[in-house]
């Protein structure tokens, strides 16, 4: 039984199956300022899409006769934005009591949020209005929270939406983990080491475990097995950590157990920028964090800038009460706080795609990539601009929401 589960999770992890439209469809988006992210911007560029994938990007792309023309002159064309820390679809907007991100217990690495994901949730459509085409949907909780998935924000079923499951193991090392550690950070990291060692022991001595010839393990076998892909370096580990000492603990654990790590939160990451750069650990952060707390007295608005200058892969994962649609404003505020525009755009597209191992198909406008793209009325980071049209896997998706209907009902004529 446990062996089966183990195999199943391996299969799921390596699966990266993206359903593309069955019907052949060729679309040419012409005339806009194209931001490929992978290369310099193209004025009056064309993006050619066929069967859900990008076929060509450039200023002199031959347009097939059967192509549907989408005129984008005066507009900006970017990849769909990737939100590295969203909960859109996991609950009923943010309504308390309706969340789908928590499983009771503080060590639940086998918990995967996938089955609670609602493709019709209102906040998925709202996220799209901010140009967000793809999201990393993760669990919440206290300590070893479980598995995140990556999904495109379109589709009628979870299966259609999913890109990768699991996509990451989420572990909380903020002060919230102190309780799981029996009242201290050191207790939490000690517990984590026990879990990792026991997972390896279980793998190495499965026969002994089956015959009960092994010391009691620190978690049920099914939970420990869920740690194995991470311990083999196959599954990214997202460490939620804000304080420098928590980030340092994450770096140390990653080195000790050969984990592929990402820091989420990272309020004081700027203090460890060279270490993070050397270790190749990306940081997903909210650029507006400035308020000191005992989980981050070193909060400063130019965190992203300082990290980028040190060569860290920065991912912008704006998280505010306005919802996922505000991701682009997170990027804009990073620019306001000193980051270059190109780096900020990278941080909401190719940066997260790379960190989550999706860059072969996501994150930039390049031939053969999945055709997730947004046509904006202007600079996507500006308040004056809006997403005007959006394509996910080569299909145009609606940017209308329930909010649109309320507005139209009450707007004075």
């Amino acid at each position: 039984m446990t062996g089966l589960r183990y195999n199943l999770s391996t299969v799921l992890m390596t699966a990266c199956v993206v359903a593309t439209p069955a019907a052949a469809q060729t679309i040419a988006i012409t005339g806009g300022t194209v931001i490929p992210v992978a290369g310099p911007r193209i004025t009056a560029g064309t993006v050619l899409i066929r069967d859900g994938r990008i076929v060509a990007v450039g200023s002199d792309v031959a347009i097939p006769a059967d192509a549907i023309l989408v005129e984008a002159t005066g507009n900006w064309v970017t990849p769909g934005l990737i939100h590295a820390a969203t909960q859109a679809g996991l609950g009923v907007r943010g309504l308390q009591g309706f969340g789908e991100r928590i499983r009771s217990g503080d060590v639940t690495p086998a918990f995967n949020v996938r089955d609670g994901l609602d493709p019709h949730a209102l906040d998925i459509a709202v996220a799209r209005t901010g140009g967000v085409s793809t999201g990393v949907l993760g669990p919440a909780g206290s300590f070893v929270n479980g598995q995140a998935v990556v999904a495109d924000l379109a589709g009628g079923t979870v299966g259609e939406m999913l890109i990768r499951s699991p996509a990451a193991l989420v572990i909380n090392l903020t002060s919230a983990a102190r309780e799981a550690g029996g009242g201290s950070r050191a207790g939490a990291t000690a517990r984590l080491r026990d879990l990792f060692r026991d997972a390896r022991t279980l793998e190495a001595r499965r026969g002994d475990w089956t015959q009960a010839r092994i010391q009691p393990l620190s978690a049920p076998a099914g939970e420990l097995e869920a740690l194995l892909p991470a311990l083999r370096g196959e599954l990214l580990v997202v460490f939620q950590a804000d304080r420098d000492l928590d980030i340092l603990n994450a770096i140390t654990l990653a080195e000790e157990f050969s984990l592929r790590a990402l820091i989420h939160g990272g309020v004081e990451a700027w203090k460890l920028a060279p270490r993070l750069a050397a270790a190749g650990i990306p940081v997903a952060l909210t650029p507006n964090t400035s308020i000191p707390s005992f989980d981050g007295l070193g909060a400063r608005l130019d965190n992203a800038t300082l990290l980028r200058e040190a060569g860290v892969e920065v991912i912008i994962a704006q998280n505010d009460s306005g919802g996922e649609r505000n991701l682009r404003y997170g990027a804009g505020n990073a620019v306001r706080n000193g980051m270059s525009w190109d780096d900020a755009m990278h941080a909401v597209t190719l940066g997260p795609a790379r960190a989550f191992g999706l860059a072969g198909e996501y994150g930039s406008l390049e031939p053969n990539k999945i055709a997730n793209l947004v046509i904006w009325s202007g600079d996507p980071f500006e308040f004056a601009s809006a997403a005007e049209r959006m394509f996910i896997r080569g299909r145009e998706v609606s940017l209308r929401t329930r909010e649109t209907e309320l507005m139209e009902r009450y707007r004075p004529r």
Binding site: R93, P292, F383, A384, Y410, P412
Partner: protein, 471 residues
């Protein structure tokens, strides 16, 4: 003795001056109360009066900037002169007085200082410990007797961060756990040792009331546990206050014998009934706001502003008819059932209906970027085809909040005679890339992004925090 003496020293001064829509720009704000009158009774003596004093600073001439007055005009290539804490001239060609600081405003935008009608800075101070969580007196559904200012911690490190966002005045309220949560207070944002040093002279007190989910959740076991229970609770409180006011009025008419016993809860509510204390009402749903307007009518007061007012856009006409403002978020919603119907065009539709729209933050993070929230709401409204100008949107974070707090006679616009509460922006404040570069509080340079020595730190910051505003 006049009736006003019942409430407090400050409100009484304010009532005379801060009439709604006052046009007397240039009228002197009342000076801080200093000595207690030789009064027999506690109610006749000063009640925690402001000790704020204008901080001295050289005169300032900002040359060749785009001046957004929030009074109707946006003036490119214009200069503004600040003398002794006042705006004394706005024009194309102004001369600098001797000793004045001259600022090249080329490429810069100038606005009034921003005003947040809804903040909990100081009462929910950073670093966010339980020890500093002083915003909700959750011991009774009606705690009109408490004053938010008695909870404000002037060393809250969130204050300088808000200043760096161009905010010069904020309204600090008790939380929304109670039907009537207590008195709110209008404060300046400055380095200070005491709250009294921050109290905006002449600003009337507010009273925080709250509808809907919060009180009925907090008091579910003892009541109110329903919205009808909430309504019964407000009515019972004001019925008691009416009787209290009458008792005092008859005593004050002839002052014979001992005065009635003071009751702080009723003192606040009687102040509301007299129109001396402005009602600031946390209320999300349209139908509940309509009941609150009826409640106000039943007891003969007005609601100055609804706060949060997620569904204000559904009743813009009612708000306009009652003269009640709507302080709303630009884009928060969905976090609870009563916030479910949030739309980005809320402020725009309220404005289009002829009511006063205000963008507020209720957030120590949001208060750092009020200009951005106004921009979000303005562009959303314009995209929906509503007629909202840049001046209108700027008023959502300046003149309209000043009105809602009863201080519009002195601040909220850039007009000759008004207080020199001024922000110099690095660019168009409705662009995400612009920052507040310099902030003047009644003529005093309280923040300068280009000069670290002009970026004040609270005591809490010393020796342990990063420069939060970055570079």
């Amino acid at each position: 003795m006049a009736r006003w003496i019942l409430t407090a020293w400050l409100p009484l001064v304010a009532v005379g001056c801060a009439s709604a829509g006052g046009t007397g720009a240039g009228a002197a704000p009342p000076s801080p109360a200093t000595a207690a009158p030789s009064a027999r009774h506690s109610f006749e003596r000063p009640q925690y009066p402001s000790t704020y004093q204008r901080r001295s600073f050289p005169d300032v001439l900002i040359r060749n900037a785009t001046i957004m007055t929030a009074a109707g005009s946006e003036l490119p290539g214009t200069s503004i002169l600040l003398v002794e804490g006042r705006v004394v001239a706005i024009g194309a060609d102004l001369a600098a007085p001797a000793g004045a600081m001259v600022i090249d405003g080329t490429g810069k935008f100038i606005t009034p200082g921003l005003i947040d009608t809804h903040s909990h800075l100081g009462v929910y101070a950073a670093p966010g410990t339980q020890a500093e969580s002083d915003g909700n007196e959750l011991t009774n559904p009606v705690t009109a007797e408490v004053w938010a200012e008695h909870s404000v911690w002037p060393q809250d490190p969130q204050i300088p961060l808000a200043v760096a966002g161009g905010v010069t005045v904020m309204h600090v309220l008790p939380g929304s756990g109670n039907l009537i949560g207590g008195r709110s207070v209008t404060l300046r944002l400055l380095p200070a040792r005491t709250v009294q040093e921050l109290k905006f002279p002449g600003a009337p007190h507010g009273v925080k009331m709250a509808c809907g989910e919060n009180p009925k959740r907090v008091y579910a076991s003892r009541g109110p546990s329903t919205r009808m229970g909430n309504m019964a609770g407000y009515r019972a409180a004001f019925i008691a206050a009416e009787a209290y006011r009458q008792r005092w009025d008859s005593w004050l008419a002839n002052r014979r014998g001992d005065p009635p016993a003071r009751d702080l809860r009723n003192e606040t509510l009687a102040g509301v009934l007299r129109g001396e204390i402005l009602v600031q009402n946390h209320c999300y749903r349209a139908d509940e706001m309509a009941f609150m307007l009826d409640l106000a009518q039943e007891f003969g007061f007005t609601i100055r502003s609804f706060h949060h007012a997620i569904e204000a856009y559904k009743i813009g006409d009612l708000l306009a008819a009652h003269g009640t403002a709507a302080s709303v978020w630009a884009d928060w919603g969905g976090f609870k059932m009563e916030a479910f119907d949030e739309i980005l065009e809320n402020a725009g539709i309220v404005h289009a209906a002829g009511a006063r729209a205000i963008i507020h933050t209720d957030s120590p993070d949001g208060i750092q970027r009020m200009n951005q929230d106004a921009a979000k709401a303005m562009f959303a409204a314009q995209r929906a085809g509503l007629s909202v100008s840049r001046n209108d949107a700027l008023r959502w974070i300046t003149a309209n909040p000043a009105w809602a707090l009863g201080i519009d006679e002195w601040t909220g616009t850039l007009e000759v005679g008004k207080m020199a509460d001024v922000v110099v922006w690095s660019g168009d404040p409705f662009s995400i890339y612009s920052k507040a570069e310099k902030v003047f509080a009644e003529g005093y340079l309280v923040f300068d992004r280009l000069d670290p020595s002009r970026q004040f730190m609270t005591d809490f910051n010393l020796g342990q925090t990063a420069p939060g505003v970055g570079r």
